[in-house]
Symmetry: D4
Subunit: 233 residues, 8 copies
């Protein structure tokens, strides 16, 4: 650790043990942290290759600070995300399909994809299937119906999750993005549309929160030994 | 006119001549007017059977006041609308199709339908074709594609106008309704979704404003002798 | 069917076949429908005891109309919900635990519980465990950790889903309610809090939408044969 | 195509066949796409001079990327729009008049104008006719009344569409702009005013969405063989 | 005073001396007060016929309580306002013209009119002159230009104050009303439009606050001996 | 005019005759205009020294463009305003006092002051008299009571106009500013507070709209020969 | 307990032990609970006269249910609050002064007063001291400066807490009320004003939450043995 | 003072006497002031080392201007705050504990801490104790329970103040921060959550207003000789 890095305890209380116990990665949300702070966390992480650590919303300065401590970290620049150790776990559980309604929704969709991948799920990506051209989404029905969970990232009218939820039997994680003209109000329009989806089975997360969407989808698609039904307990 | 009816000039400035010149009905928005005021207007209208007059948002008291002056007025109770003279004009211009996404959107959709009809358009009504069941809307494609203008009334996620606009070549008038759970916020959610429709060709009107939607669709579908192209003027 | 019941085709397009194929109940949202319309739907449903039908947001008039056609329908008055056939399916899949933060959240929580039950999941209810008394929620940890999905209904600060999601490994369905003082703004405050939950794994649904929450939880907890991992397809 | 251009299929699903079939241009919304992505699309478009392609919201980097692939593309820098092939189709259908309430509304108004032109309509532009000086708009009545559709771009109080709709018999496409002091709230004030226009016949589109307004106006003013009236079908 | 009337000091601190000194009436906002409380105030006022007292937003119960103490109070039921002593002062100062855009804006407009009248201004009322029919407002230009202050009450798009302010040289008091379809949001739409009026000289007051508008107009139109210009002080 | 200046008619319809007739300056709102456009207007204005022209919200580029055409224009950099001819008219009418609640409100307050000055009113400025220190505002009561109109610029809680309006008999023009911590929401908080001022006589203008506030105050304080009272017309 | 009362455990988890340990009353928020549920709680409370229990937001039905179980409970109908045991504790700690800006704010102010009283503080009430008449609040300075905490309930512009906080050295609890004309938006206007108070020392609580304000003030004014300063621990 | 510094009286009315009398520091909010203005204030302050002066929200330019006049001023760059004289007063009163939910909340939390320190309270800082990991906050219970006032800074769901208020008996000052994904809406989400805290005893301040939170906490924790209880006055 360089001399000028701040003391970790002064600004964060890392608990890698808990991450290990719960079976999920530790995630470091970089926005609002200084590169030096992120670097200190990366240095602390280096001793624990048994825990996957994700650095999300990482700007160039954050990325550089991480790579200085963890040179082999995987860096998806489109998703503004770094992961270490660089190799995701061997995929288990059901398939997570991530759908991006338009090209502008791709960065957020990729963040969801990488998160699900590093939580250990098999994943697939589908792009540019907005509701204005229904044939596009209908053309991917086979893939969508193989999924155990579908993430749908969409801005503007946020209509795609409703449509997809009407076509599949599994939960759809609706991920509103801040893409669109003025009255999209930074993602408010698709957020409200998704909360009001007229098909049941839609789980909404925060605007542009690809990490949250991917995490939720991975949890839904995880293989969990179900407890016995109520009557037998 | 009964003695107790208020003097028209004290609260309204009716201009039936203008309505006749523009070729569109006079519309009386009853909400916020007293039944007596509406009755006075109905009395004034009686002398002008050459102008179609619509009474919109007419509660039971308003309707009674109108029927007292214009006993043969047509009353669509679902749409809370009265029309006089009762017979709509012979249909001219292109077809106006009105689509209601769900049963709860019907009153507003019917207001749009009646308005277009009394402006002189041929009309058709389609019900219960929400995006959660795409086969329903796809099953009505033939009818939709015969229209010169389509009105789509929808609450909740307001996704249907986007889908319809992607399927037809004519303008879609998007009519948000105040139907839905809490975060529909009285129609705000579908309104924003429609303003952000990802297909072009969507014209948005006010929440629950069936009259406005029907009027606009009737204007779009009117047969108007087009002016010569720019180069020839 | 009584003579005065409206013609079903004029306001709804029931598709019980689809409900059967997808394996989920048909749900009739009663708010905004007249009791007569709901009665017509109930009459149509009577011929299909193979499909579970839920009538949600059913006021006294709606309930009476349903019971006239389906006298043995199960009626949970607290949840404003009727179900027919009255017996839920034998429970399969993982346990769904529904948590109500306060007494005032109970009606919405019960709607979620009944929905999950009639979709065929084993269910448990936990009441009055707000974050102001952490010992209450900590005292139910054993039950919470047996669940495959947890629904948390909360108004006011909407803090409970964050806390629960930090304690369990499965998805938490966050259900904001319209309970609270002025600046709760009809459920907006807990809705925003839940969308911003600082623990991952939180799936948000619409304000007071117990049906949607229960449905989503039931889908998450369903036993679905997972597709083979990506590499083997 | 340069080596460093990304693979089109990885981020977009271009469907020029559909554009050709519907008779409308393909539009590429550049905001949120990288210049490289836009360049890849331009390269793909080059093979299809039979379809008009519009690049909207194109910043300098986007414009350069387009011009590298399509050197003769028409570039309206004020409107931040490029069109290819550079010549618009021969004008057909009715006249589209575009009105800009103030100088600051011009960029958005020009985007509408160009869109209508490249969809094949004859067009005219009117500038600086705000409602604070009624003589200005009244002085252009002759032109306004020759139109088959009028686009009115206005910020601030958004009052002009109401005034114009009261003066003409054809639909007015109301285009709110984000021009104004603080309480314009980025276009919210004119948007709400337009949705509440007290004259019927006003079709509202999204804030600053000149493309959408021009497209809608062009559809309204298109010569479409009207279907036979209802009675004859 | 009846026995059951509450003690004035327990809920109000009436200061009729200040009202007399400032030269303006004392106003009692009845909404949120019980009829008994309003009655106690009326009883206290009876001893001071030298001060004009207005009771605004007075429901039937409030009115009855006032009339019990001040039987000759003037009661304008449309405006929900009572005044005592019943005769307004002899008019002084400039003319206040109150304009109601539509019939539904009349109650609020009348409250403004009565307030200006009881503050001692000559007043005139103009009704039903919305911007959708410009000829109506243009036909009243002579009267408008005789005013020292104009109050314009309008709901919906709130466009009329902009238009009027462009036609007269004196201040326009813009009074938004809660009249309109859904997206008027209880008067928010006209309020924002008025704050963004593109003509200078527009003074905005609260939604439905006819009292405030009339008071402000009366102050503007008052004959006040102007202080000497800056250089001579 | 330099060769590269755009043609005025292409983007603006200047009407200096109207400005002269109404007796008020022409105002050019620079935000959203290019420096070249502003320069073209300045060039056109040069021929009309009989009309005062104000350039408001003028950034450095706009100012330079104005000064190139009108080298002796007065430039108040704090207020981001230029005026030409540079000398204001000899003061007539009543005194306008402009109050800035805090130092951060000064730029907007100065814009109001200059506007009133160039409309021909005598003016005075008072600074830093927030309600948290009542002695400050009470210490300026003499000056405030000499005014015919008072402008009060305030951000944060926007409480000062209420307090001032309770102390003077003339209208208070309330000018909300965008100064403050997060929940000021860009001036929304003081705007709402001012619209809800508990003292009558408060006229609200748009957030940060110093020009509008100064213009309104100047109109209120103008010497206008009042029309005869109603009875004598 | 009557037979028809619901089983407490089914809807609430009462923890009177905790209330006793923390030294504060147990509070039952009645809104959203049925009278029967409230009655069950009252029955459970009867066994614990050592804990003060408050029933807040109690409508007539709730009050009746409480009085059936606890006939001697104190009922303040203005404040919609019941307390049991009926006698408040002997007052300890500093004085809490509750100020109501206007008569309409009294019910909420009284709820705050009663809460502070039943938490054991000495209390005083001041009414009708809005900022439009500064002499009223200045006339109560002696009392205000004797307080250890001041609660200020105000609607409309919410300006009073700023003014009071500038006059006293102790914390001011700002309690926004839903009193006011349209743009008060149910208390949003005073809430925002209070959050932006330009004097430090203002603690804001929820709209109309008199209970919360009184509780907070009582905690501030409690005699708590302060821990030793940091250096000595 | 350098020649180019503006004249203090032209933009501010410093009242150090009042600050001294109230016993609290003078605070200079730098945002919206020019560095030159801040420098002038610093120069004026230099003569009064008996009053603590805080410069809050000081950017680099502001800091430099302060240090030029007061070279030994204490500068906490994280908190963007300067204090002079540099030594805080000897701590008196109860302990103030400041809690930062996450690392990104630290700058605002430190502003609160420094403010409380310079108002003379003993202080402690706790970091990274979000509700997603309850063990963290439970692990600091001893410290929290030693406090006389606790400040809790949190963004995102703003849930921590509710949890802490349920664990301690003293007031909690809830400080919302603008940290979070899209639907945090710049701090609106945690602000609303805190206003709706389900535990009593929560005092809310403005978004990111660390100064206000620290000041309020210091006032609560001050040793104030309490006035005698009500009965003895």
């Amino acid at each position: 650790m360089p001399d000028d890095q701040p003391d970790l305890a002064a600004f964060a209380d890392l608990d890698l043990g808990r991450a290990a116990r719960r079976g999920y990665p530790e995630a470091v949300y970089c926005e609002g942290k200084t590169p030096d702070q992120v670097g200190s966390i990366a240095a602390a992480v280096r001793a624990r290759p048994d825990v996957v650590t994700l650095f999300t919303r990482a700007g160039p300065g954050h990325a550089e600070a991480v790579r200085r401590e963890l040179p082999d970290a995987h860096h998806d620049t489109d998703a503004a995300l770094l992961a270490w150790p660089p190799e995701p776990p061997a995929p288990t559980g059901g398939l997570v399909v991530v759908v991006a309604a338009g090209t502008s929704d791709l960065p957020v969709a990729r963040e969801a994809l990488q998160t699900a991948r590093y939580l250990g799920r098999p994943t697939e990506l589908v792009v540019d299937v907005g509701v204005a051209g229904l044939h596009r989404v209908l053309g991917r029905l086979d893939l969508l119906r193989r999924a155990r969970a579908v993430v749908v990232a969409a801005g503007m009218d946020g209509a795609l999750p409703s449509v997809v939820a009407g076509l599949v039997a599994v939960p759809v994680v609706a991920l509103p993005t801040s893409v669109g003209y003025g009255a999209a109000f930074g993602g408010l329009a698709p957020l409200l549309a998704m909360l009001n989806a007229c098909a049941p089975g839609v789980a909404v997360v925060n605007i542009d929160n690809g990490y949250g969407a991917g995490h939720l989808a991975a949890q839904i698609a995880a293989h969990i030994a179900a407890p016995p039904p109520a009557g037998e307990r």
